[in-house]
Each structure stands twice: as structure tokens, then as C-alpha cells.
Amino acid sequence: SAGSSAGPSASSAASDTDATLTLGLAAVPASLDFTTTGGAAIFQALVGNVYEGLVQLDQDGTVQPLLATDWTVSDDGLTYSFTLREGVTFHDGTPFDADIVKSSLERLPEWTANSPKFLGAIDHVDVVSPTQADVVLSRPDANLLFWMSTVLGVMMTPDSIASLATAANGTGPFTFGSYEQGVTMVLDRNDDYWGEKAGVAEVDLDYFADASAAANALRTGGVDALFQAEAYDQIASFEADPAYDVTVGTTQSVVVLSLNSSHEALSDLRVRQAISRAIDKDAVLAAATSGYGTELSGPSVPTDPWYEEFDENSYDPTSAKALLAEAGVSGLVVNFTVPNRPYAQAVAQVVQSNLAAVGITANLEVQEFPAVWVEKTLTNHEYDLTVVNHVEARNLVSYGDPTYYWSFDNAEVQTDFAAASTALTTADQTAAVKAAQEVIVAEAPGVWLYNTPNIVVAKAGVTGLPTNYLGVGIALAGATVSQ
């Protein structure tokens, strides 16, 4: 369902290089310091625009060179040798070299946010020459390059660490202009960029907590485009209007209805299967996103290398009832915690109706997100059913962690993931993950509902916006505005 990508090079002849692109976004950065503050909002705006890493993901999710022009991997999978791009300087003038790579990657253990454990395999970095850095691992990790392409792999100068919260100093196509808390972030074109210069002189990122307000702003010219537009009910009217271009891409996000397997009744596989079959995903998708997005049958998204579709546990209320009867469960009452986000509430109410139809009573408990939900549901596991949008890429591995909130403890899955993470080739890795995935789907620890769409609505004349959102940055260098 990914729409055709305009691609960074497709800038139109009439484009105005002095223009300002105003982009409406939903998630508000609480700070600029992604090393201490969680949430995708910060790196969404900065990575790929202000900060760059050694590698990046392309629109298909494949790792591509960026500040490293090339790399080799030792046979034991423990040493990644990167050849660095020459002539790259930071916005403050600091030259980029292997020392920077060393200081940036070796500082990871000090991060308190954004899960630095995913690059926990890195033992140290050897500076071979100014243009060659060897990243040495303590154990093989087939995912290393993928994680290096995320926010964890960005290059920073040691001097800028102190001011990470208020300024951003990277090597990217945009310099950081200003950030008015919760309102607007301004990025300016970096005219000294090492690569192709950005298509607009300035990018304003306007934050809208409310989806309809964002749509109104687009209609009244307050913004030029919306990225990850959430006013799903209005998308059709934008599509019908020639003044706007709408693309529907994909994200890494999985909206999942999780079942707490440690709950008495839910520890019974038949009950979990019954719940899975009771859910009408068409209705869920209609209610939550007006039908945009991709229904899922398993825990991975189409852009994952191990994506597969499954026909187990598809919508079948009759067999759901039968399974419940078989398990001897009747009058089941479950506590359903719901983040106070529109999508979650919509999903929850449809799920509640669906469950009621097979004789399960779900009591909704709306919890403030993130504060309350994170504490009660995620941390303390005080829930039976919950629904949440997992925006982190490759979240599948969490099914290998028995302490994670869904309390899914399956030895087979854990072994498979261990094998996957130490696999030396991508193929081995993919095979191991697929094996794990099959078990997970069979065990039904959750109901994977849909892959959140990445809807971009732009005024006609705005081109080059990324179609898909891969969970890292929103690269805006290729965006152009024509009169």
C-alpha cells in the first residue's frame, strides 16, 4: 500500500529554493536531548536533518552509507570497519573524523533514554586513522547496522554534549534554528552541507496536539503539509481535492492488543485464541483510522525482513465462543487499560463490543499516556488487556523478554531470538526471527491489529516529502516547494 515515492532527486524545475516549508507534526518534543528524554518526537525532527550517523535507512528499510562511505565486517562478526567520508564538518565547524565516531559511540552507555541497550554489543571503537574507525563488538549482532542507522548511531561533537537540551550540532543538511517549546521548531538550510543541499531555505515544524486543528491549519494555509496526519476522517476529502496531494505510506508501528498471560484465565491458550478470533479487525481499522493502514496478522510490519502473513486466529466469533466453552470459561471479566489517546480509545471501544459479543466483559480503564499507562500497565503489569501503538522498530524481540509487560515466557522463542541476535548473516538472522514469530503467533500473546499508516498530505507544489516513516528521522532535505 506504500504510495509512489517522489524521492529526494525529483525536485521540480519551478521549485523555490528560498522558500520556507511549514510542516505540521503531531508528537511534541519535550526537549532536544534524545540521550536523556524518550519519545520519537525529538529524533524524528533532528536525525537525518541536523544529525547524521554513519549509515542510514532508505525508504525500503535497507541500510545505506551516509557519513561512512563503506564498511567491512570481520568474519567473526565482531569488528565493523568504517571508512569515513572526508570533508565533512559539523555546523559549529568541528571537522568530522574517527575520533568523533569513537566519542559518539562510546558515550552510549551514558544515555538514559531511547534504549541504548540495542547497541549494547559495542565494546569499543578503535581509531585506525582519521578516516577509518573500527567498531569492536563484545558479541556478534546481526542488527548492529540497523540500530546504527537509528538515533543511537548519530554523530555528535564532545563539546556539544553539555548543550544537547537546547541546541543541536550535527553534520546534516539543516542547521538547528530554534525551538519554541511545544509550538515550532525552525531548521535552516546548511549551505555548507557536504552533500546535495536542501531544497528549501527553511523548514518550520509546527506541532499540533490535536489532529483536527492540524487539518484546519492545512486547509487555511497555516502549514504546507502534514506528516503522519491523524485526522483520518478528513483524508478522503483531501484526496478528492486537487489542491492537495495525499500519500499513504507505512510506518514501523504496530498497534497491538496485548493479553497479560499471567492472568489466570488468559494463561489458557484457548482463551487467548478466542479473544484473537473475537476481534473484527476491519471494524477496528475503520474506527481507528477510517480504514487507512494495514491490518496485521502477526507481530511484524511489511517493511520488516521477516514479515509474513498468517491466517491463524482470524475473525471468527463462533469459534471464539466454542473455544471459550471448551476452556470452560464463562462470564469472563477482564480489566482493559487504555491509553487516553484517540486511536486507543476508538480501538478499545470496538474491542469491547466485539468481546461482549462472545460473552467477555471488558471493563475499560482509561489511563493517561504516557505517565499513568507506563507506570501501571507497562511497569507494574496491572492489567489484563491493553492496547498500545508500538512505534519502536523491530519491537518483536520483546516477546523474547519474559519480564516485558505482556509476561510472555516461551523458551523456544527466547532461544530463537538469542540465535538471531548472534547470527552472522542477515539470512540466518531472518530465519531465526521467522521461527520465533511462528511460535509467537501460535501462542497468541496479543492480537496484532494494524500497522499505522504514514499519511502525508501536502499542498500541491510541495514535493519530496518521505512517504514512509521508518522510525528514525523525517528526512526533509529532498523536500521542495514550488510557487
Partner: protein
């Protein structure tokens, strides 16, 4: 018996005939009565199950099946609107009761100890009143999670200082009357005076305040729900209906009409009732601070 004009009941001035559009009291009472009736009926009957979703038939225009159409989850708006009356009325009732339970004794106490402690009680009241109810509601929602209970408590507590102030001024008026002095001369204590003299005589002001407080609570509940701090799903509530339906304002504006109208009618009713009662009990409009 001889005619004794000097002992005739005091001539009471005839009420000036009102040439306004109907009596506010009656119109207000009818509207409020209607809303309460709808809320009561919804306990036993609604056209459809107000919480049953039918996402395939979402955002339908009004039809013979769905009188008011369906909402974003395909629920029947007519049923939702009916059942949605319960929460605002409950919030209003509890908030007003709470504000009275806190404010009335406090105000009476402050008035009775006017020259001593009362002054300090009122200073404290001023400080508490510096915390706007909505602020309290937002903070309480952060502490205890948003919800009907938090909204009721926040609105009740937030309104209490205002009630205390009004009660205090009413009580002071009563206490300045000679019958309050006469009660003391009769050897009666402050509790007796509070119960037998003060309360009955400030009843009018209290009734007016209650109906206005109700209107304010209904509006505030809607505002809190709009901010996502009010009644959580799936309990039907006008406030949440408004909040959910603003997403459809462009697509199906009718969706927002019904809860909006319901809120407006209710608030209108309570305000009219308050005005009517004020005309009856208290010719001067209390300026609450």
C-alpha cells in the same frame, strides 16, 4: 368584631405584572425537568444500546433507524445523547453537594466568628479561591487520573470558596437581624441559630446558587472531557461526545450538534431556573468573588 384596620395584615405591594417572555422559573424548571426525565428514562430504556459499536456503519446521517445518526464508532447518537445526560447531571449534583457541604458550614462559621477567627477564615478562603477549579481539575486529574470522580471533586472543591463567601455574607445579614439577637437573648447557642435561623433564611440564596452551580458544573464537565480529563470511555457523556465528534466536524457536522444542543439546553434550563428563583428569593444578584 369591630374593624381594626391598624391590626390588619400589612398590605403587601401587589406584584408588578411581568411583561417578559414567559416566566423564567417555569421555562427553566420545564427544561431541567425534561433533561432529568431523559436521564432517568435512559437508565431503563434507550432506542439502542448506547455503547454498542458498529464501525461499518459509522458517521451515518439521521435515519429512521438512527434518529440522530451514528458517531465515529457507529454508535447510535440518539441513545448516546440520552444516556449522556446522566454524567453531567451526576457531576452537577455531586459537585454542588460537595461545594455546599464544604462551603456552607465554613461560611456560617466565618460569619459567626466575624471579629476573630472569621477574618482569618476568610483570608484563607481567598487564598483557596485563588486556585481556579479548572486548575484543580487538571492537577487532580494528574494525581488520581482523569475521570468523573476527579471532575466532581475538583469542581466541588473549586466552587466551595465561592459558596462560603456567599453564605458568609448571607449569614452576616441574618445575624445582623434582631431575631438572631433575640435567639441569643433567649439563651440559644450558635448551633441552634445556625440551624433554625441562618439556614432557613439563606435558603433562597442557596437554591439560586445551587442551580447556577449546576449550570457551571455541566459546562465544566464538558470542558474537562474536551481536554480528555473528564469521563472516560465508554460511559456516554455529552462532554466526551463533543470531544470525540470534533474530529468529524468537517465530515459530519451533525455529530457535534446533538451533544452541543443537549449541553446548551441543560445549562440554559438551569440558568433560567436560577434566575427565576433569584427573582423569587433574592431580588439582588449576589456578586460572587
Amino acid at each position: 368584631m369591630t374593624a381594626t384596620p391598624d391590626l390588619a395584615p400589612a398590605a403587601r405591594p401587589a406584584r408588578p405584572s411581568r411583561r417578559t417572555l414567559g416566566s423564567p422559573l417555569i421555562v427553566g424548571a420545564c427544561l431541567v425537568g425534561f433533561v432529568v426525565l431523559v436521564a432517568l428514562v435512559s437508565l431503563v430504556w434507550t432506542p439502542m444500546d448506547p455503547v454498542a459499536t458498529d464501525a461499518v456503519n459509522r458517521l451515518q446521517p439521521p435515519s429512521s433507524e438512527h434518529w440522530f445518526g451514528t458517531d465515529g464508532l457507529g454508535r447510535d447518537i440518539a441513545s448516546q445523547t440520552m444516556a449522556g445526560a446522566r454524567v453531567p447531571l451526576l457531576v452537577g449534583a455531586v459537585a454542588v453537594t460537595l461545594s455546599f457541604l464544604l462551603g456552607v458550614p465554613y461560611g456560617i462559621l466565618a460569619a459567626m466568628t466575624d471579629r476573630g477567627t472569621g477574618r482569618w477564615l476568610m483570608r484563607w478562603n481567598d487564598i483557596v479561591q485563588a486556585f481556579p477549579p479548572l486548575l484543580l481539575a487538571i492537577i487532580l486529574a494528574a494525581v488520581f487520573g482523569g475521570g468523573t470522580a476527579t471532575a466532581m471533586v475538583a469542581l466541588g472543591v473549586g466552587a466551595a470558596p465561592g459558596v462560603a463567601r456567599i453564605v458568609r455574607s448571607g449569614t452576616r445579614q441574618v445575624l445582623s437581624r434582631e431575631y438572631a439577637l433575640a435567639a441569643r437573648a433567649a439563651g440559644r447557642g450558635p448551633l441552634y441559630t445556625a440551624v433554625r435561623h441562618v439556614l432557613p433564611n439563606i435558603r433562597g440564596v442557596l437554591i439560586v446558587q445551587a442551580s447556577v452551580g449546576f449550570a457551571i458544573a455541566v459546562l465544566a464537565e464538558a470542558a474537562l472531557s474536551f481536554l480528555g480529563l473528564g469521563t472516560p470511555a465508554p460511559t456516554p457523556s455529552w462532554g466526551r461526545m463533543l470531544q470525540e465528534s470534533q474530529a468529524f466536524l468537517y465530515v459530519q457536522p451533525l455529530v457535534i450538534l446533538w451533544p452541543g444542543l443537549a449541553v446548551a439546553i441543560t445549562v440554559f434550563g438551569f440558568n433560567l431556573l436560577g434566575d427565576g428563583l433569584r427573582d423569587r428569593y433574592d431580588p439582588r444578584m449576589e456578586v460572587s468573588r
